[in-house]
């Protein structure tokens, strides 16, 4: 799907959501788009926290996440299993465990999440290549927060 089409759909979805509809269908020049939703999701409050969290924990809560999530593109997301502080290296002077582009193997340590003085090593659950590191060193992460995007089938 190209970006253009995606934008179209996003617009339809927005309308769907805003108007609390269940279905929109648009057909044009041989292209038919139908957007349907069977049960409207609970809408967000207009009263989201006025000021973002100082500690950086404030990425808006989305739907459920798994510890490792495969998206439609075939990429995996490594998420944090605990609340804590995210470190990309074992100590301030050390090199990061992994960099973007690195090929990693299952069980390899990707980062540390410190919680209650415990250093929790987060390991790769699959072989693959680090496509993207999503969190800054020293940031706070919540349960389920995406940390890395991993391509399990890198073109070598």
């Amino acid at each position: 799907m190209n970006g253009e089409r995606h934008k179209d759909i996003q617009e339809l979805v927005d309308i769907l959501t805003e108007q609390n509809l269940t279905e929109i269908e648009v057909e044009r020049a041989g292209v038919r788009i139908r957007v349907r939703r069977d049960a409207s999701p609970p809408s967000r409050s207009s009263r989201l926290p006025a000021s973002p969290v100082d500690s950086g924990t404030n990425h808006p809560p989305e739907g459920p996440v798994e510890s490792v999530v495969e998206d439609s593109s075939g990429l995996f997301t490594v998420t944090s299993p605990i609340v804590g502080t995210f470190y990309r290296s074992a100590s301030p002077d050390a090199d990061p465990f992994v960099e973007e582009g690195d090929v990693v193997s299952r069980g390899q340590v990707l980062c540390i999440v410190e919680a209650m003085k415990f250093m929790n090593e987060i390991e790769a659950e699959t072989d693959g290549r680090i496509v993207q590191a999503l969190v800054e060193n020293g940031s706070t992460v919540e349960y389920g927060q995406p940390l890395f995007v991993v391509d399990p089938h890198p073109v070598t």
Partner: protein, 449 residues
């Protein structure tokens, strides 16, 4: 005063605490499970941290998760609400050890009061009226038979670590005693990891009357009158009120005095509830102390004007109580209906998507709920979805207002106990205040005929 309070709970009580903090100018941190990402308590809090999946054991009961969230957000106190970690002495102890204030009693009080058999012994020694029973836990069946014979049947077997009606068995005949003890032990071991049981005289058809107490760190304690919670099904309260139709001024004075003696005996602090059974002859017996805020606290707030959550926070911050016993006045009457997402006939839980939600308003009506016009009732959690609290100049007006508001309250998409509440509040015995803990079973049985 605290700068930032983490609310270690969900649903209406989390919202209740967030609201109190907002009114006091204290920042709030909501923790939440993935299932609650869009819940009101999350959206109304200043900050929010996801601490685990929907399963409460892995999120709201997850001690490292809650404490990490407190650490990363810099919260200086934690309000546990009720349920989940509220009566977890270990959690309170860890909070104390890392310098985060647990808004509630000290961990050793929670531990002490959690051992019902021991608490009973201590109170007995202090001359607090308790039901006659075994001297500590039952050691063997012969011991039990001897105790029961002395008390006279029926007796009740109770797990020392029990609560909420779990680990209890009423025994009418000696022949059933052994089986009952075994059953209570198995239940207690499974649920509370401790299988000690004790025996008490069983009072037929008593009232459940509890006294709300508040104590500050300096040992100053007051009580805020009583709540009558006799409308119960399997020890789950369904309707609560204050004052109790069975308690007059002199009995209130007496029970209040005893409740404060209980507080003093264990040097209790923060908010707590001293539960009593009251028999038909106005005798009352100490049952246990609930070392937390309770679901039914609003009826006390409605008649006293005191915001109990705010007082909990103030006391936990080391501030002295702002009033003395003589400043506490009971105005009018208040009744709370616990609206559960349950079938009002079978009591089967009814989780699902709420498709319509309209809350009543007008004079004398308060609704505590975390529900919205569109929202989910999750099967993982308690079925309590709203508390409808009515206040009136007298009991009749409170009942009339509750009934009027129950008629207005519209919840569609899930089944609720609203129809049952309507029937209870229209029942002639209820309207006359003639209720006891056996009321609801008889009421339901008579409706089955």
């Amino acid at each position: 005063m605290f700068k930032k309070i983490l609310v270690a709970n969900r649903g209406e009580i989390a919202l209740r605490v967030v609201r109190a903090c907002q009114e006091m100018g204290i920042r709030t941190v909501a923790v939440y499970s993935e299932a609650d990402a869009r819940s009101l308590h999350v959206r109304y809090a200043d900050e929010h941290v996801c601490i685990g999946p929907a399963d409460g054991a892995l999120s709201y009961r997850n001690i490292p998760g809650v404490l990490s969230a407190a650490e990363v957000t810099g919260a200086d106190a934690i309000h546990p609400g009720y349920g989940f970690l509220a009566e977890n002495a270990h959690f309170a102890e860890v909070c104390e050890s890392i310098g985060i204030t647990f808004i509630g009693p000290a961990s050793d009080h929670i531990a002490l009061l959690g051992d019902k058999s021991k608490a009973r012994e201590i109170m007995l020694k202090q001359g607090i009226p308790v039901l006659p029973g075994s001297d500590g836990e039952i050691r063997h069946l012969d011991h039990a038979i001897a105790v029961a014979e002395k008390l006279g049947y029926p007796v009740i077997v109770k797990a020392s670590a029990g609560g909420g009606g779990r680990g209890m068995r009423v025994v009418g005949l000696e022949a059933d005693l052994g089986k009952a003890i075994l059953a209570a032990q198995v239940e207690a071991r499974t649920m509370f990891d401790h299988d000690g049981v004790y025996i008490e005289k069983y009072v037929l058809d008593p009232r459940h009357v509890e006294i709300q107490v508040l104590a500050d760190e300096r040992g100053h304690a007051i009580h805020l009158g009583e709540r009558d919670c006799s409308i119960q099904r399997r020890h789950q309260k369904l309707v609560e009120e204050s004052p109790s139709p069975a308690v007059d001024h002199s009995l209130r004075l007496e029970m209040g005095k005893v409740a404060l003696k209980v507080v003093k005996t264990v040097n209790y602090r923060n908010a707590g509830t001293v539960e009593f059974l009251v028999d038909h002859n106005r005798n009352f017996y100490f049952m246990e102390v609930n070392p937390r805020i309770q679901v039914e606290h609003p009826v006390t707030e409605m008649v006293t004007g005191v915001d109990l959550i705010k007082e909990q926070i103030r006391v936990a911050a080391g501030l002295p109580l702002r009033f003395r016993q003589k400043d506490v006045r009971l105005n009018g009457h208040s009744i709370q209906c616990r609206i559960n997402a349950e079938c009002s006939e079978t009591f089967a839980p009814s989780p699902g998507m709420v498709t319509r939600f309209h809350v009543p308003g007008g004079p004398g009506i308060r609704v505590d709920t975390a529900l919205e016009a569109t929202g989910h009732v999750h099967h993982q959690y308690d079925s309590l979805i709203a508390k409808l609290i009515a206040h009136g100049q007298d009991r009749d007006e409170a009942i009339a207002r509750a009934l009027r508001a129950l008629d207005e309250l519209a919840i569609e998409g899930v089944k609720t106990t609203i129809p049952l509440h309507r029937l209870i509040l229209r029942d002639p015995d209820f309207q006359k205040g003639r209720v006891s803990t056996g009321f609801l079973d008889r009421f339901l049985a008579s409706r089955m005929e």
